[in-house]
């Protein structure tokens, strides 16, 4: 997510620019994989195979100087540095803008960035076992296994679920003693659990919360290694309140699912399902995906659900920047669309991407797919132009224009289009 300052630094004046003719790449490279576009729209890139069977990244038609045995997971970070995983001499590492980290690993995967993109981390398997490498620096402690991880907002910490003891084949009793915990920068919590999942950092990066399984059928949230004093039938991923150390998580009680703050239920209403809770940008409101009844899905805000429910699915809520409105992807009868404040757009699509609010919150745009073509949809109205490939639109800081990154006839264009012309 780009800051307003970054957005303001982008070119919002040039109406249209043909950035690259990808058709031309085909004569240079026998194989071209999936394209990725930079957030500011200035670059288009793809992993490509060279004539000699090696891999590199092609950016706006120019390939990196370095080539590799393998290259994948190519993406632009939030600060638009082009990042990927590469293998050379059977060692994996991270490459950023054609420069590789000094350290190589037996394996590296799962690139993650801080919101500002300045810190980059990956899961690694090395000589010491499993761990995390953050900005080319690997945890000193290795573990029997480390799965997934979270990166702190300040970019200084990583936390992963780690296996602290090796387990013999079929050792169900050893497993039941608890051999999993969370390690932060390689230092494990003092307490082990049957399982840990869904790790989250507090906004000041000082605390870590996770779902923990304290008994076979006993679930809780642990914060810095200490479980809540309340046990639940099940829990889902916790998040921290935007200010302070309080933690919010979906929990299952006898009557159904609801949200709990530090173990205490905060919504009176119980649902057949509740997950993907989110805070509004001002931190005053909470929205979550809920099922008020079996097979009926919607969004609840502060415990009250939208009247309209959807049969197939509802995806995580998105707040407007002013915190006043909520939108979400919804699906019914195998058609995808967006619902804003409980009202679905009339048009259904084969696929739709996350809704994007304008800075003032009064307009909503999304990338959508219909019959193999892609469109910008603005407030439910399908845009005039169809595209061969498209990335999610981005509103200009004043909300009057949209940055449209698209491919047509094999050519990648960056366009800035006034919203009324979409």
């Amino acid at each position: 997510m780009q800051s307003m300052t970054e957005l303001e630094s982008w070119d919002w004046e040039t109406k249209e620019r043909l950035v690259a003719d990808i058709n031309g790449w085909r004569s240079k490279f026998p194989v071209i994989h999936e394209c990725v576009a930079s957030n500011d729209g200035e670059k288009i890139s793809a992993p490509v195979r060279t004539e000699d069977g090696r891999f590199t990244a092609c950016v706006n038609g120019e390939s990196w100087e370095n080539t590799f045995e393998k290259l994948w997971s190519l993406r632009f970070g939030p600060d638009d540095r082009l990042t990927c995983l590469v293998r050379e001499d059977d060692q994996w590492t991270v490459a950023v803008d054609d420069e590789t980290w000094g350290e190589g690993f037996e394996y590296a995967w799962n690139i993650q960035f801080t919101p500002d993109g300045k810190s980059i981390a990956v899961n690694v398997k090395g000589e010491n076992g499993y761990g995390i490498a953050l900005n080319n620096r690997t945890w000193e402690n290795g573990f029997a296994e480390a799965r997934d991880f979270a990166i702190s907002p300040n970019g200084e910490f990583t936390a992963a679920g780690v296996q602290t003891k090796r387990l013999g084949e079929g050792d169900i009793f050893g497993f039941a003693e608890g051999i999993w915990t969370v390690a932060v920068n390689g230092k494990p919590w003092g307490k082990n659990f049957l399982n840990v999942w869904g790790i989250a950092f507090s906004s000041d990066s000082s605390k870590v919360a996770a779902e923990v399984r304290v008994g076979e059928y006993e679930y809780a949230i642990a914060v810095n290694g200490t479980p809540w004093n309340k046990i639940f039938k099940c829990v889902w991923e916790p998040i921290f309140y935007p200010q302070g150390d309080d933690v919010l998580a979906p929990v299952q009680v006898d009557e159904g699912w609801t949200l709990a703050k530090n173990g205490e239920l905060i919504w009176d209403r119980k649902f057949v399902q509740a997950w993907h809770q989110k805070f509004s940008p001002d931190g005053q409101r909470i929205a979550a995906v809920v099922a008020p009844e079996f097979g009926k899905w919607t969004i609840a805000v502060d415990g009250s659900s939208w009247n309209r429910t959807f049969r197939d699915a509802v995806l995580p809520p998105v707040f407007s920047p002013d915190s006043k409105r909520v939108a979400a992807i919804v699906k019914e009868n195998n058609r995808w669309t967006v619902a804003v404040e409980g009202s679905p757009w009339v048009e259904g699509f084969d696929m739709i991407w996350d809704p994007v609010f304008s800075p003032s919150g009064d307009r909503v745009a999304a990338k959508a797919e219909k019959e193999g073509k892609f469109y910008i949809v603005l407030d439910g109205k399908i845009g005039k132009q169809e595209f061969e490939a498209l990335w999610s639109p981005i509103f200009s800081p004043d909300g009057k224009k949209l940055l449209v990154r698209s491919i047509e006839d094999g050519k990648y264009y960056r366009r800035v289009i006034p919203v009324e012309e979409i």
């Binding site: 194989v31 994989h33 999936e34 393998k70 994948w72 997971s73 037996e106 394996y107 995967w109 799962n110 899961n123 398997k125 499993y130 296994e145 799965r147 997934d148 296996q163 084949e169 079929g170 050792d171 169900i172 009793f173 497993f175 039941a176 999993w180 049957l194 399982n195 999942w197 399984r213 076979e216 059928y217 679930y219 039938k233 099940c234 006898d254 057949v272 399902q273 099922a291 079996f294 097979g295 899905w297 049969r311 197939d312 699915a313 995806l315 699906k331 195998n334 084969d350 696929m351 991407w353 797919e369």
Partner: protein, 442 residues
């Protein structure tokens, strides 16, 4: 309570775990499971069954044990759930151990018996409820519990680590490129039409099946992807142990992988129980009435590829071949005709089985029974003599099993009863007989 069929099986998952049980824990757990966890249909079933015993003839365990009533579906319920309810949960550890033996290892929850019940009572539901009670008490066969632990940690069945998964896909992609030009396993391709998911044993033991799908997808020109992250495994053993919380977590991960990748549908490899978990049991626990992303089983997918001419058959498989019909996709979903279509399209000498379609016998491996591991293997293969007789009667040399549990289970039966047959997945036949266009030939 009946004694085990022939010999005592040592299983620490049962023998050791019951030592920790107290009468109070058993009673409280049972009563909580029956009042808070069981659905209204338990009451309906209990009040509806007239004890007619017509379900008996449906069960392969019963038929394979000279019609011993202890192995009839109603006999299994009588020895377990009825007794539990009659005694209001006041049973001891040995009783729970026998419940686990019966429910986890002598019933495949295949639902054949429901078709023979005049009232359509879902006997499998009742035996799954017994499994749930056992699981809540921590009494689950060791190997099955270990598989459940793997699911809880890794979201896959076989303790496959995250790097092992990706690495396997990458070398299988390279292997596939030796067969078909530019064959790919596209990882994390957002917006692909298909997310292809498999079960844990594929990367662990049967990696060539991943290479096969890369070949098939490339030749058919499919827009597909596989996740590099957790959610790639569609199998679900917690569904069968009775750990429904872990079952739900695994299924949620599977569907959220599809959401994340913006896939329009999930095509799953050749596995029956995985289909049941993804289409029926998993979504329901999570409050989805239907799978939130359409799930297509491999049999239907191959049927559509062949029917639509996306895969052409260059030459037919010549050996006499028959099929095992996975209960969860044939009795559970009605894919029997599609299975026969693809068999006839690819095989010169297809020999059908009898009984067949929804009346076919279970492989006796499904329902988590094969996952109970080596201690229970003998009881499992002896519990399906009728399957051996059925397959032998076809005179086929090859059995196609579009399901991993069926595949392993039928292999054991073939060996135990010395049937002299080979067992194959359909994709192995397809890769062998399909036409590779000139421009894709290596």
């Amino acid at each position: 309570m009946a004694e085990p069929a022939k010999e005592i099986v040592v299983d620490p998952g049962l023998d050791e775990t019951i030592k920790k049980l107290t009468p109070k824990k058993i009673e409280d757990t049972i009563n909580r499971a029956l009042t808070k966890g069981a659905a209204a249909r338990l009451k309906v079933y209990m009040q509806t069954c007239v004890h007619c015993g017509l379900c008996a003839e449906a069960c392969h365990f019963y038929l394979s044990h000279d019609k011993d009533p202890r192995f009839s579906p109603v006999g299994k319920v009588k020895q377990t759930l009825w007794e539990i309810i009659k005694r209001k949960g006041r049973v001891d550890g040995e009783f729970i151990k026998n419940c686990s033996r019966i429910a986890h290892t002598e019933c495949n929850v295949c639902r054949r018996c429901s078709m023979y019940c005049p009232f359509g009572i879902d006997m499998a539901y009742l035996l799954l409820l017994v499994r749930r009670i056992c699981a809540l008490l921590g009494v689950v066969p060791q190997y099955l519990q270990d598989t459940v632990n793997s699911h809880a940690v890794t979201m896959n069945q076989m303790w496959v680590k995250q790097d092992e998964w990706i690495d396997t896909l990458q070398w299988q992609e390279e292997d596939a490129q030796d067969e078909v030009k530019n064959a790919r396993i596209p990882l994390d391709k957002e917006g692909a039409e298909i997310m292809y998911s498999v079960i844990g044993p594929e990367p662990k033991f049967l990696a060539q099946l991943l290479g096969n799908i890369a070949i098939i997808m490339t030749v058919a020109g499919m827009d597909w992807t596989m996740p590099s992250f957790d959610g790639w495994d569609n199998s679900n053993m917690p569904m069968y142990s009775g750990d429904f919380e872990t079952m739900a977590r695994v299924e949620r991960k599977h569907f959220e992988a599809a959401f994340k990748l913006k896939a329009k549908k999930i095509v799953m490899g050749e596995c029956g129980h995985a289909f049941r978990g993804a289409v029926y049991d998993g979504p329901k626990w999570l409050a989805w009435k239907e799978p939130p992303v359409p799930v297509i089983h491999a049999v239907q997918f191959y049927y559509e590829l062949i029917r639509d001419g996306k895969i052409r058959i260059a030459r037919k498989f010549e050996q006499p071949v028959t099929i095992q019909e996975p209960c969860n996709i044939v009795r559970g979903r009605g894919l029997g005709d599609m299975l026969r279509y693809i068999m006839r399209a690819t095989c010169e000498d297809f020999r059908d089985v009898s009984p067949r379609y929804e009346h076919n016998y279970c492989c006796c491996a499904g329902g988590g029974v094969i996952n109970c591991g080596p201690p229970w293997k003998k009881s499992r293969v002896e519990g399906n003599k009728v399957k051996a007789e059925q397959l032998k009667a076809t005179g086929a040399e090859v059995v196609v099993t579009p399901c991993h549990n069926c595949h392993s289970g039928i292999e054991d039966i073939v060996n135990y009863y010395k049937l002299g047959m080979h067992v194959k997945f359909f994709s192995e036949i397809l890769v062998d007989v399909m036409e590779v266009p000139e421009d894709l030939k290596v």
